[in-house]
């Protein structure tokens, strides 16, 4: 890196041939605005309370605005691009990481940049938008017209949404590839599905986590079950499970949007019902008139002196099941509306205490709908299998439930199945109660 931060000196990384090829391969340069990117940019502007947000793709001469939302001054709004040497994105490409500018007039990287005046850019925050192979294609960024210090929450929200923007590009790319080479689409679907699921559950202090995902029998189509576990504000953690009704790329896109919107919404600190309401707002536009919807369950847990305090809301999703340390099994959650269809949803937060040794089981209906002839696995068998688990560890409950469903079914599964199990540690030797 040179010490001279003249804005006319464009970093070499911008001209990397591999990167430029990846930018062109997106096929997005000089294309019009699209809902999926505008939605993410709008969400960023809203959540960060920033007047402008952009999704950009940078080639060798300009930063093209795939999405530009907010109060963009009219004289630059038409062009939908800036010269690369004036772009803030060049610094994102150079660093291959996020860039935060608190006061553009004082920051040596930007003080001489004419955009600081043309667009009234006083503060800037951007994360890279990457290709599936990891090349930096451009940036996902927000602009403020006043100097500001970007908070940890701002940064986390922006990071999360930038991943979603990268995911959108990977999906578009995947559609192309799938159309070109139909025979490879099964493998592609699996790869995409894996990228949508959580590959490794995080370590949550005081909790044991286990999960299982099994795609529907055919396996060639993108399916819509998902789950996620992530840290919220402070010492709270969120466990999410959901089911998008539908198959294919549309459903996969909805799944990605759901995961990232819930992660972003969690940073607002509201209860699960508020997170799900925010997701409904984000989905309302995308799903309109297509009959696409999703069901989801969000459980927020926080460690207390007596175990974990949980707050749980259902949006069209089957209730959670709690296996108490004594072995009894009870339902948790109150029925609420499914998401993505109706502008108004009714959701309820239910609070419960999970004591040491208690097990919380979240599942999708692929489990209860598993079929043998005209019989279904159903809720009674589900409760029975949870109660009958040979050891109350999360891993055992997941493995034995999965085996019970597989043993019951007499054919390939019609639907995906997802299971997410949390167990409150007993503080002693693991899994011994």
């Amino acid at each position: 890196m040179g010490s001279d931060h003249d804005v006319l000196t464009v970093p070499e990384a911008v001209y990397d041939p591999g990167r430029l090829a990846a930018v062109h391969a997106t096929g997005l340069l000089d294309t019009g605005p699209e809902d999926n990117f505008d939605r993410l940019a709008s969400l960023a502007a809203m959540l960060l309370d920033a007047p402008m947000a952009f999704v950009t793709l940078v080639d060798d001469r300009r930063s093209f605005w795939k999405s530009a939302v907010g109060a963009i001054p009219e004289r630059v709004a038409q062009a939908r691009e800036t010269r690369v040497e004036h772009s803030f994105c060049q610094h994102v490409i150079e660093s291959s990481g996020a860039i935060f500018v608190q006061d553009a007039e004082l920051d040596p990287r930007t003080s001489a940049n004419p955009l600081v005046h043309a667009l009234s850019v006083k503060a800037w925050a951007g994360f890279p938008v990457r290709s599936a192979a990891g090349d930096v294609l451009g940036s996902f960024c927000v602009v403020d017209t006043r100097p500001r210090r970007w908070s940890a929450r701002d940064i986390e929200v922006l990071r999360t949404l930038s991943y979603s923007a990268s995911g959108e590009i990977a999906l578009l790319d995947a559609v192309e590839v799938a159309q070109r080479e139909a025979r490879r689409s099964t493998a592609l679907a699996r790869t995409l599905q894996e990228s949508l699921l959580v590959p490794v559950l995080p370590h949550v202090p005081g909790l044991e986590l286990a999960s299982r995902y099994r795609p529907a029998g055919a396996g060639g189509e993108l399916a819509g079950d998902f789950f996620d576990v992530f840290q919220g504000i402070g010492d709270s953690w969120h466990a999410v499970i959901g089911d998008v009704c539908g198959k294919g790329v549309e459903a996969a896109r909805m799944t990605a949007l759901a995961r990232y919107t819930l992660r972003a919404a969690a940073m607002r600190g509201g209860p699960p019902s508020a997170m799900l309401t925010e997701l409904n707002d984000a989905l309302a536009h995308q799903a309109e008139g297509r009959g696409l919807y999703l069901t989801a369950l969000v459980a927020t847990v926080r460690e207390t002196d007596d175990g974990f305090a949980a707050t749980l809301a259902l949006a069209g999703h089957p209730p959670a099941l709690v296996r108490r340390a004594c072995g009894s099994v009870e339902e948790a959650g109150r029925h609420g509306s499914l998401l993505g269809i109706f502008s108004h949803v009714t959701l309820h937060d239910v609070e419960l205490l999970l004591a040491p040794g208690d097990v919380l089981v979240l599942h999708t209906d692929g489990l209860t709908d598993a079929r043998r002839g005209d019989e279904r696995f159903g809720e009674a068998r589900l409760r029975g299998a949870i109660a009958a688990a040979s050891r109350p560890s999360a891993g055992t409950v997941v493995a034995e439930l999965d085996a019970a469903v597989a043993g019951f079914s007499d054919g390939p599964a019609d639907d995906d199945l997802a299971l997410l199990v949390l167990r409150v540690g007993t503080g002693g030797v693991p899994w011994d109660t």
């Binding site: 089911d243 009704c245 539908g246 008139g289 297509r290 009959g291 696409l292 919807y293 069901t295 259902l314 949006a315 069209g316 999703h317 089957p318 209730p319 029925h335 609420g336 509306s337 499914l338 269809i341 109706f342 949803v345 009714t346 209906d365 709908d369 079929r371 002839g373 005209d374 279904r376 007499d410 054919g411 019609d414 639907d415």
Partner: protein, 115 residues
Amino acid sequence: MNIPDLTIVRSEQDGIHIVVLSGELDLRGVDELQAALALPGEAARVCLDLTELAFIDSTGLATVIRGQQELAAAGGAMAVACGSTGSVRRTLETTGLTRLLTVTEDRATALQALG
């Protein structure tokens, strides 16, 4: 394997179109149901009787919702009868649809709601 199919029976009473489903409604039956719901015309009043239906999955549910929305958008209406117990009633309750759609226990009440 003995997988029950979907059976659709259509009739009309006092200008209300009655669509009765029995068996199981899943991906295999959604095209047929979609056609049956579209048949009466856009602004029709449709009574969808699910009291004899043993099972509905998410794709079936999506077809019912879409049918209802298309009818409502064109000035028509749909009421759904689904019994007071059973798998279909439970699914409509779990998804919150008993409050978002016009859902009744029996066909007579559904017809009244449309009348």
